[in-house]
C-alpha cells in the first residue's frame, strides 16, 4: 500500500517534471508509450513490454543523474527494477562489469585498451561500447572574503595548484583581476585524497593547456603533496567553505552555494563562468570520437586546447555508460539497451540537467549514441 503511494507520487513528480520541461515537446507525460521520432529527441521504447532487473554501478559523479533517470524510467516501465551502486566508483564499476556482475558500468573515463580487449570475454568479439551520456564541468571553487568575482587563466590555475603561487595578492592573480582587492592571505589548495574521475579531468586539463607549468602526468590520484587532501567532492567543498584563502576543484553539480572562478578560455581575454550551455559547447568544440577499433564505440578524446570560444566553459567533465555489444542473455540486452537509450534521449538529458545539475549532451552526439545502440543485442 505504502509502496503504491510512493510510486504514485513518483509518477506525479515525473509528470510535473515533464510538464516543466515541455520545451522538449515530443512527449506527453501521461501516456506509457512515447511518440517515436527518428532523432534522439525521444526513443521509441515500449515501456509496457519491459520487465526485469538491471544491475549496474560505478562513477559517483553521475550518481545523482542515474537516480533521476532510474526514477523516471521505472515510473513508466513498471516491471523494471534498476540498481545503480555508486559506492563502487569508476574503477570498481568497470572491474565488476568486467567480472560479469553488471549490465553496464558508469565510468568517468572510457575503457583502456587492455580493458577493451578483456571485455571480449563477456561481450564476445563485438567488444564494448563507451557511451558519453553525462556532461558536467569541473568548477574551481574558492573562499576568499571580500572577493566574489575571480578570473583565473589556465596558467595561474596550474601555478596555484602546483604550489608556485602561494599568496592571493600574487602579481599573476592581480593582473587578471584588476578590480578585485586581493588580500595577502596564504593560498591553501584543497584536493581529493581519494582516487577520482574529477581529478583525472582536472589534471588532464592542466597538463594539456599548461604542459610547461604542470609537469605531472594526469591521473585519478592527486600527484602533488602539500595540498589539503579531502575525501570526496563533498569533503573538498566543505573544506573550501570552512577555510579562508582556500581554493579547490569539484564537479560543478556538487559545489552548492560556493563561488566558482571564471576560467579563461584559450589564451584570450575572455573569462567564462560555468553554464550548462558552456559545457555543451565545450563538448562540441573539444571532444572527438577516438578510434578504438570497436564498431560503434564513442569513447571521446578531449583536447582542452581547442576550447577557445567565449561561449564554452574550458573544463568539461564527461562520464560514460559502458555496455556490451552482445549480451549473453538477449532479453537482458534489450532491457539495458532500452534504459541507456532513454538516458541518451533528449528527455533523459533534460531530466539529468534538472535533477543533477548536469549539462545536456549535444544533440548530434545523442543521435550517434542511438545509432551505436542499434548494434547492441
Amino acid at each position: 500500500m505504502k509502496l503504491k503511494n510512493v510510486a504514485a507520487v513518483g509518477t506525479l513528480a515525473l509528470a510535473t517534471a515533464l510538464a516543466l520541461s515541455a520545451c522538449s515537446g515530443s512527449s506527453t507525460g501521461g501516456t506509457t508509450t512515447d511518440a517515436a521520432t527518428p532523432s534522439a529527441a525521444a526513443p521509441s521504447i515500449d515501456f509496457a513490454s519491459l520487465s526485469g532487473t538491471i544491475t549496474a554501478g560505478g562513477s559517483s559523479a553521475q550518481a545523482n543523474a542515474e537516480a533521476a533517470w532510474i526514477t523516471a524510467f521505472t515510473a513508466q516501465a513498471k516491471g523494471v527494477t534498476i540498481n545503480y551502486d555508486k559506492s563502487q566508483g569508476s574503477g570498481g564499476g568497470v572491474t565488476n562489469w568486467l567480472a560479469g556482475s553488471y549490465d553496464f558500468a558508469g565510468s568517468d573515463s572510457p575503457l583502456k585498451d587492455d580493458q577493451q580487449a578483456s571485455s571480449q570475454a563477456i561481450c564476445g568479439a563485438g567488444g564494448a561500447l563507451n557511451l558519453p551520456v553525462y556532461l558536467d564541468g569541473v568548477a574551481v571553487i574558492y573562499n576568499l572574503p571580500g572577493v566574489t568575482d575571480l578570473n583565473l587563466s589556465s596558467a595561474t590555475i596550474a601555478k596555484i595548484f602546483s604550489l608556485q603561487i602561494t599568496t592571493w595578492n600574487d602579481p599573476a592573480i592581480a593582473a587578471e583581476n584588476p578590480d578585485a582587492t586581493l588580500p595577502a592571505t596564504a593560498i591553501t589548495t584543497v584536493t581529493r585524497s581519494d582516487g577520482s574521475g574529477t581529478t583525472t579531468n582536472f589534471t588532464n586539463y592542466l597538463s594539456q593547456t599548461q604542459p610547461t607549468i604542470w609537469t605531472n602526468a594526469p591521473g585519478n590520484a592527486w600527484p602533488i603533496a602539500g595540498s589539503s587532501a579531502q575525501q570526496g567532492g563533498s569533503g573538498v567543498v566543505n573544506t573550501v567553505k570552512a577555510g579562508e584563502g582556500t581554493i579547490g576543484y569539484a564537479d560543478h553539480s556538487a559545489i552548492g552555494d560556493l563561488t566558482s572562478a571564471n576560467i579563461q578560455v584559450g589564451t584570450g581575454s575572455d573569462y567564462v563562468p560555468f553554464s550548462a550551455e558552456g559545457a555543451s559547447n565545450a563538448f562540441t568544440a573539444a571532444a572527438t570520437t577516438k578510434d578504438t577499433g570497436v564498431k560503434g564505440d564513442l569513447a571521446q578524446s578531449v583536447d582542452y586546447t581547442k576550447i577557445t570560444e567565449a561561449d564554452a566553459y574550458p573544463i568539461p567533465l564527461i562520464s560514460y555508460q559502458i555496455l556490451c555489444t552482445t549480451f549473453a542473455d538477449e532479453a537482458q540486452g534489450e532491457l539495458t539497451k532500452a534504459f541507456v537509450s532513454y538516458v541518451a534521449s533528449d528527455q533523459g538529458q533534460q531530466i539529468a540537467a534538472k535533477n543533477a545539475g548536469s549539462a545536456p549532451i549535444p544533440a548530434d552526439m545523442l543521435a550517434e549514441i542511438q545509432t551505436s545502440l542499434e548494434l547492441v543485442k
Binding site: 563502487q88 574521475g197 570552512a242
Partner: protein
C-alpha cells in the same frame, strides 16, 4: 560391591532425573570418598554442546587462516610486480613508487605514528578515568560514569569522523598556531601550519577518544579486582590514598593495564573512517603533526580512499598493504601477551622472593609482604628527605657565599 551399587544408583539417578551431572556425582560418589573416578553417562545434549563449542573454537582458526590466505594470495601479484614499468601500477594511486615496499613503508609509518599520538593522549586519560571510577568516585557517580564510557564505545566511527571534521578541526587551530609559533623548533610542531585543521594531530585526538572506552573499561575491571586486603593493609600502615594506589593497585594491575593499552592500540591501528575523513594525507614519512600536506597516511584509510577507483592490480597492491596491517596487528597482540605474561611472572618472582624472607605462616604473610613493601617505601622516603636536607644546606651555603661576595 558397594561401589557397584553406588554407580548403579548414580545411573538410576541419571536416568530418572533429567538434570544430569550434578545429581550423578552427589549421591553415588560421596561414600567412596572420590578414590575412583565415576564417569557420568554422556547425553545427547552434552555431545551437541561439546560439538558446538569445539566447532566454534575451530572455526575461529579457520576464519583467521582463511583471511591470511586470502590476503597473501591476492597481494602476491602486486608485491612481485615491477612497479615503474607496470601499466597499472605506474599510474593513479600507486604512481611513482619503485616497488611495493617503498609504497607500503610510509603507510606503515603513518599507521604507527597516528596510533602513537592517540595512545600518548588517550592512555593516561583512560587510566585516570578508570582509577577515578574504581577508587575515587562515589558509588552512584562511578556507575553512571562507567556506563557513559561504555556508551562511547557504541558511537560509530563515522560519527567520530564527522565530529572531528566539524568540531575538532577548527577547535585545534589556535592550539596548532600556538605550538607552531613557540615550539616550532621541535620537528613535531614544525612546518607550515595548517589553515583548515586537517592534521594528523586532529586525527590523533579523535582516535584517542575512540580508544578511551577500551582502555578504560578493561583497566577499571582490573583495578576493581585489587585484593581488598592489600589496600586495607597499605592504608593501615599509614599510606595515603595515592600511596595505597601506587603500592597496592598499580603493581597488581600493571600487566592488565598494559594489555588494555595494547588492545586500544590495536583499535587505533585499524581505524579507517575517522582518519580518512579528517586528515589531509600524503604518502610520505613525516613526524610533523600540524601541517596540511605532510601528514603520513595510514594503511586502513588509504585502502578506503583508493579502493573504489583502483584497477585490478592496484587493488591487489592495496590488499598487500592490508596484509601488512594484519601482520602488525598480530604482532601488537602477541606483544601484549608477552608483556602481560612477563609482567605477571616478574611480579610473582618478586612476591616469592619477599615471601622467602618471612617465616612461613598463613594469612598474615600477605599482609607482611605489604609490610615489607611499606618498610622499603619508608626507607626510600627517609633517604629522599635526607637528600633534600643535604641539598637545602648546600643551597644555604651557596647563598651565604653569595652574600659574602656581595659584601
Amino acid at each position: 560391591m558397594s561401589e557397584n551399587t553406588a554407580v548403579k544408583s548414580a545411573k538410576n539417578a541419571n536416568e530418572t532425573t533429567a538434570t544430569g551431572a550434578a545429581s550423578a556425582s552427589t549421591p553415588g560418589s560421596a561414600p567412596t570418598g572420590g578414590s575412583r573416578k565415576v564417569r557420568a553417562k554422556s547425553r545427547p545434549a552434552d555431545r551437541i554442546f561439546f560439538g558446538l563449542s569445539v566447532g566454534s573454537a575451530i572455526s575461529i582458526m579457520v576464519i583467521l587462516a582463511g583471511v591470511a590466505l586470502f590476503l597473501i594470495i591476492q597481494a602476491v601479484p602486486a608485491i612481485v610486480a615491477d612497479w615503474p614499468s607496470n601499466g597499472d601500477l605506474n599510474e593513479g594511486p600507486t604512481a611513482g613508487f619503485a616497488n611495493f615496499w617503498s609504497y607500503v613503508g610510509p603507510l606503515i609509518w603513518g599507521t604507527l605514528f597516528a596510533s602513537a599520538i592517540a595512545l600518548v593522549i588517550g592512555a593516561p586519560i583512560a587510566i585516570g578515568i578508570a582509577l577515578f571510577i574504581s577508587h575515587y568516585a562515589p558509588r552512584r557517580l562511578a556507575g553512571a560514569l562507567g556506563y557513559l564510557v561504555d556508551l562511547l564505545a557504541a558511537v560509530p566511527s563515522i560519527v567520530f569522523g564527522l565530529w572531528g571534521i566539524i568540531v575538532i578541526r577548527p577547535f585545534l587551530l589556535p592550539l596548532s598556531d600556538w605550538l607552531n609559533t613557540y615550539l616550532g623548533w621541535i620537528p613535531l610542531f614544525g612546518g607550515t601550519v595548517s589553515t583548515t585543521g586537517s592534521t594528523i594531530l586532529a586525527g590523533g585526538v579523535v582516535l584517542a577518544v575512540m580508544i578511551l572506552p577500551i582502555i578504560t573499561s578493561i583497566s577499571r575491571e582490573i583495578f576493581l579486582q585489587t585484593p581488598r586486603l592489600h589496600e586495607e593493609a597499605a592504608l593501615a600502615l599509614g599510606a595515603t590514598k595515592w600511596e595505597m594506589i601506587k603500592l597496592a593497585v598499580f603493581p597488581y594491575g600493571r600487566s592488565g593495564v598494559i594489555s588494555a593499552t595494547l588492545l586500544g592500540l590495536g583499535r587505533a591501528l585499524g581505524e579507517t573512517m575517522a582518519i580518512a575523513l579528517i586528515i589531509s594525507p600524503a604518502i610520505l614519512v613525516s613526524v610533523r603533526m600540524l601541517t596540511e600536506g605532510e601528514n603520513s597516511q595510514t594503511i586502513a584509510a588509504n585502502i578506503a580512499l583508493n579502493f573504489p577507483i583502483a584497477t585490478t592490480l592496484q587493488r591487489e597492491a592495496l590488499i598487500g598493504t592490508g596484509l601488512l596491517l594484519f601482520v602488525i596487528s598480530l604482532a601488537v597482540n602477541m606483544l601484549a601477551r608477552v608483556i602481560a605474561g612477563r609482567a605477571g611472572a616478574s611480579a610473582n618472582r618478586k612476591r616469592k622472593a619477599m615471601l622467602a624472607q618471612l617465616p612461613p605462616s598463613d594469612p598474615s604473610t600477605v599482609l607482611a609482604v605489604d609490610d615489607v613493601l611499606a618498610k622499603r617505601h619508608a626507607a626510600e622516603d627517609v633517604e629522599r628527605s635526607e637528600e633534600a636536607s643535604v641539598e637545602q644546606t648546600e643551597s644555604e651555603i651557596d647563598e651565604e657565599k653569595r652574600k659574602g661576595t656581595d659584601a
